[in-house]
């Protein structure tokens, strides 16, 4: 049996899945003052009377880190930066104490100016005096050579509670994002670690045979243990849970649009040949762009509870939410009221809903039923328009090779998969607005918890080899090793896959046999004075992202 839990901003959903069916579903309000209480309450409910030994997987998606950041309830962080020459680093100083250190590394990973020990010592003293226990160290091009980041750490006093090293976060280049990601990781470490400890206590007490895995924003999971050094990876995993849920409920090999229609927002995501699209760089949170890999998801301020208004003879929907539907005692009329008026939804005070819709209709000279229909049509139209705009943007993303320009590959969705509570009620309007078949999977209302339950571990790794220097670097592993003469792309690819396999065994032993793939590989000749002096090789590998289909072959689902 699989357990999935998705903690959203307002609701927390938990499901228990066995034999390709949802055995139990539990929904509760998320208590922002007590996340742990919320999680344990949901798990207690879902596990009541179940033999713990039959639980094969326990996956959690939590907003705890997101919330700590958004509400500013995070630990003070001391930031040690080595920006070297380049863009003015003043705007990167997001820590409570910030130190700009001397030293620099270039794009090939060659140190071009040294660290100054006295500066690090002075920073250390100041941090100690201020009582700051959480640090983040980030250097420009540290993913090409982490030796300066490591030397900075080495020069500090021992005994800080938590130190994030920039090069361990991601192999992607982007110094500002590395700085912010390192900062956020250290800022939430304490909050996250107390949450993780409590979850561990819970599973031990319940005698569950599996350790929980935590959902990441890329739609994969990470073991609870591994997540404690990378808590930032757990931010904003909610949309990923929904997308993976949609995939589990309606597997496809086509290009598709996924809509998750909620109360306040509609999240829009895309599948390319059945595989979810990623954010090109990383997700942004509370104004900080990060290197946290995430599935692409756009949040449109339009949902069942969006407030409806008539302004200058025109109907507007959202983006605000003033409360629940009029039928449930809310102040503003909402699309949910339109659904109630049309008899598609049996909920709350129907007369109040009808009254609200009629008032809007009066301002536009429309009868009540016409008004309700027009609201839903407009809502679907706005969702379709925004989806098309996103698609146009995605299809004009830059490419860097002749082959790609000539191929001109375009995403052309053939279907729309819709999840979220109002999904089945809006299918007809959406079909008309998109001009595409709309699929509303059975259980669309709990897709996110299903997605959490069925997601599997993912991890990635970047290998850079410089045969002129005779060095190989894998930043995510903090690895830097010598390579023999004759090292080439093929050997680099094999080494990268081997290292990824080892990483996967360490992070998620239960899926060690899973399929790995090469995402990107390049090999460039380096030439000096018209002679080839070596090769610059770059390989990116990942665990192929996937989800256990709800009614697939896996008999343990």
């Amino acid at each position: 049996m699989f357990v999935g839990l998705d903690m959203g901003g307002t609701h927390t959903d938990a499901v228990l899945i066995a034999g390709g069916r949802i055995l139990r579903h539990y929904k509760t309000n998320t208590d922002p003052e007590d996340y742990l209480g919320t999680v344990t309450r949901a798990l207690e409910a879902i596990l009541a009377g179940i033999n713990p030994s039959s639980i094969k997987r326990l996956n959690l998606s939590t907003t705890i880190c997101t919330n700590a950041i958004v509400t500013g309830r995070s630990s003070p962080v001391g930031l040690l930066l080595e920006p070297g020459p380049g863009l003015n680093p003043a705007l990167l100083a997001c820590g409570q104490k910030n130190f700009i250190l001397s030293g620099s590394i270039d794009h090939r990973g060659r140190p071009t100016s040294p660290l100054v020990e006295a500066e690090i010592k002075a920073a250390d003293r100041e941090l100690q005096q201020a009582g700051i226990r959480h640090l983040a160290i980030a250097g420009k091009f540290s993913t090409r050579n982490p030796e300066h980041e490591l030397a900075i750490k080495e020069a500090l006093s021992p005994g800080y509670d938590f130190i994030t090293m920039g090069h361990r976060l991601s192999g992607w280049l982007n110094f500002p994002r590395r700085v912010f990601t390192a900062y956020l990781n250290s800022a939430v470490a304490a909050t996250y670690s107390s949450f993780a400890a409590a979850i561990e206590t819970f599973t031990t007490k319940k005698k569950l045979p599996v350790a929980p895995d935590i959902l990441k924003a890329d739609g994969g999971t990470l073991s609870l243990e591994a997540s404690q050094s990378l808590p930032v990876e757990t931010i904003l995993s909610g949309p990923a849970a929904s997308i993976m849920g949609a995939l589990a409920l309606a597997p496809t090999w086509q290009d598709a649009i996924i809509l998750d229609i909620g109360g306040t927002t509609t999240d829009i995501a895309f599948l390319a040949g059945g595989v979810p699209l990623y954010e090109p760089q990383g997700i942004s949170l509370a104004g900080y762009p990060t290197l946290v890999r995430a599935l692409f998801s756009y949040s449109l301020g339009l949902g069942g509870d969006s407030c409806l208004q008539v302004q200058e003879g025109r109907l507007t929907i959202g983006p605000g939410r003033q409360g629940p539907a009029r039928a449930l005692g809310g102040p503003a009329v909402t699309p949910t009221d339109a659904l109630i008026t049309l008899g598609r939804l049996d909920l709350g005070d129907k007369a109040a809903a009808r009254q609200g819709i009629a008032e809007l209709g009066d301002k536009l000279g429309l009868g009540t039923l016409h008004m309700a229909a027009a609201i839903l049509q407009q809502m679907a139209g706005e969702i379709a328009r925004q989806s098309r705009a996103l698609l146009a943007k995605i299809n004009s993303r830059p490419v860097y090779t002749v082959r790609e320009v000539l191929a001109g590959k375009q995403l052309q969705p053939a279907q729309v998969i819709v999840i979220g509570a109002p999904a089945p009620l809006l299918a007809a309007e959406l079909e008309a607005a998109f001009g595409l078949p709309v699929i509303v999977p059975h259980l669309a209302g709990v897709a996110n918890a299903i997605g959490a339950a069925l997601s599997q571990p993912t991890t990635e790794l970047t290998l850079l080899a410089d045969t002129e220097q005779g060095l190989l670097t894998v930043p995510e592993e903090g690895l830097r090793e010598k390579i023999p003469a004759g090292f080439n792309l093929e050997r680099a690819r094999n080494r990268a896959l081997e290292l990824l396999r080892e990483r996967l065994v360490r992070l998620a032993p239960e899926v060690a046999g899973t399929e790995l793939e090469v995402v990107e590989e390049q090999s460039f000749n380096m030439v000096s004075g018209f002679y080839t002096t070596g090769k610059n090789i770059r390989v990116k590998v990942q665990v192929k992202p996937r989800v256990t289909p709800l009614k697939g072959d896996a008999d343990d689902v």
Partner: protein, 437 residues
């Protein structure tokens, strides 16, 4: 986060799968480290900086500028069309008002490609700036355009294409042709009879430093631009003046390039040469991007920068001061000089030899232009190569007067196909078409 003071469009096309040859300066790796630096600095996350996807320029876009022999597709690869298309995408972003400025960081470059194209010259097959500029004029109306070519090599191709065009001012700063390819670009190359003075060359001595370039900008380029009053300024942004460039002898730095662009503020910059792919390009390109976007570029510095590497001798300073003075005076007296040059001639001819270094090909051109006071003038070129090709190319300019148009068509009708074994071409810019017989 960072916010650009001016919105900047970037077209970044490193062509990671295209090279002239594995060890050629113009190879796959050329923009690799620039991309690394741009990504690592987080440039693409800056609010107000937008990256655009390049597209292919069409054959018609190329034929608006060039006569390719025997035709466009046998003279270019996809990469050339993407470099030109990338420049067009950059220009359109500006002309549509989506951004204030744009920078096309594309390869291969184009400023050595002349009007007639028999092959590659100086790594260039087609002139990507000229294709962009004529695309702008075709789709966004008549514009006065100034090209400031800061590549270390003289842009003989751009000079040739705009030789007869008084609406396009071509200014080139380059290392003296007596010391560097292509060996042209002297003061007396002043423009054709109907555009005399609209082609300005400033041949700088080897070892010109930071100071010399900025002096030329302040004392020559900016004053000329103030007189010409262009609607658009294009920078042919060659980066081979850098002190680390392996094929030139100048002493310019990334700071220098950034400061030059900060003061010049071109509407569109298009990458040309620059072959110090590790020591210069990453820093120069980032410096230019920041300067164009109105961001602080004072922290941009090469790892091996020192004031001594960009210093110039007082002999060089004196020489440049005289050069600027002389060239600016010639510009101011262009009307008088033109009258003396044209006198009462009806047509003016020149004969030259053009060397295609990549294929070791020699072309001989006999070029004739009608002297015309109301347009750029009809021009025709009899072109032969030492491989036995022989063509006649007739050029009717964009805003040709009635007489020049009629004469052009009459010449095309009259010329006998038997006399030119590889064809007779008529580039009719009024009708925007290329005819061949």
């Amino acid at each position: 986060m960072y916010k650009a003071a001016r919105r900047l469009g970037l077209v970044f096309f490193p062509a990671f799968d295209w090279a002239i040859s594995p060890t050629h300066p113009e190879r796959e790796e050329r923009l690799l480290y620039t991309q690394d630096q741009v990504l690592e600095e987080g440039i693409l996350d800056i609010d107000g900086i937008y990256e655009y996807r390049p597209r292919l320029a069409t054959v018609a876009d190329v034929e608006r500028v060039h006569v390719c022999v025997p035709d466009v597709m046998s003279r270019v690869t996809a990469s050339h069309l993407i470099a030109a298309g990338g420049a067009i995408v950059a220009a359109e972003a500006v002309l549509k008002g989506e951004v204030d400025k744009a920078f096309a960081i594309v390869r291969p470059p184009g400023h050595h490609a002349l009007r007639i194209v028999h092959g590659a010259r100086g790594f260039c097959n087609i002139n990507i700036e000229a294709i962009m500029i004529e695309y702008i004029r075709r789709h966004y109306g008549k514009k006065r355009i100034a090209i400031v070519d800061t590549d270390c090599h003289h842009g003989d191709g751009s000079q040739d294409i705009y030789w007869h065009d008084p609406d396009t001012l071509y200014i080139s700063l380059h290392q003296d042709g007596r010391t560097l390819y292509p060996g042209t670009g002297f003061l007396d190359e002043f423009g054709g009879p109907n555009a005399f003075g609209y082609n300005l060359n400033l041949p700088l001595p080897p070892e010109t430093g930071e100071e010399g370039f900025l002096y030329a900008l302040d004392h020559f380029i900016l004053p000329v631009l103030a007189d010409f009053k262009p609607d658009l300024v294009i920078n042919s942004a060659g980066q081979d003046n850098h002190y680390t460039d392996p094929i030139t002898n100048m002493r310019f730095s990334a700071q220098g390039y950034a400061r030059l662009n900060d003061r010049l503020q071109p509407d569109i910059a298009v990458l040309e040469g620059g072959y110090s792919i590790e020591g210069a390009l990453p820093y120069v390109n980032v410096g230019i991007i920041l300067a164009l976007a109105g961001l602080d570029y004072s922290g941009i510095r090469e790892p091996d920068y020192s004031p001594a590497r960009v210093a110039q001798s007082s002999r060089v300073s004196d020489y440049i001061a005289r050069l600027c003075d002389e060239t600016y005076k010639a510009w101011q007296q262009r009307e008088t000089l033109r009258a003396a040059y044209v006198r009462d001639k009806k047509e003016i001819s020149r004969r030259r030899q053009i060397y295609y270094d990549t294929e070791g090909l020699m072309e001989t051109q006999e070029e004739t232009t009608l002297v015309c006071d109301s347009c750029g003038g009809l021009t025709w070129i009899d072109s032969r190569t030492d491989r036995g090709r022989h063509i006649l190319a007739i050029f009717i300019p964009r805003d040709a007067c009635r007489r020049c148009q009629e004469e052009g068509h009459a010449l095309f009708e009259r010329a006998s196909a038997g006399a030119y074994r590889d064809g007779i071409y008529l580039q009719d810019r009024v009708a925007d078409q290329l005819l061949k017989k």
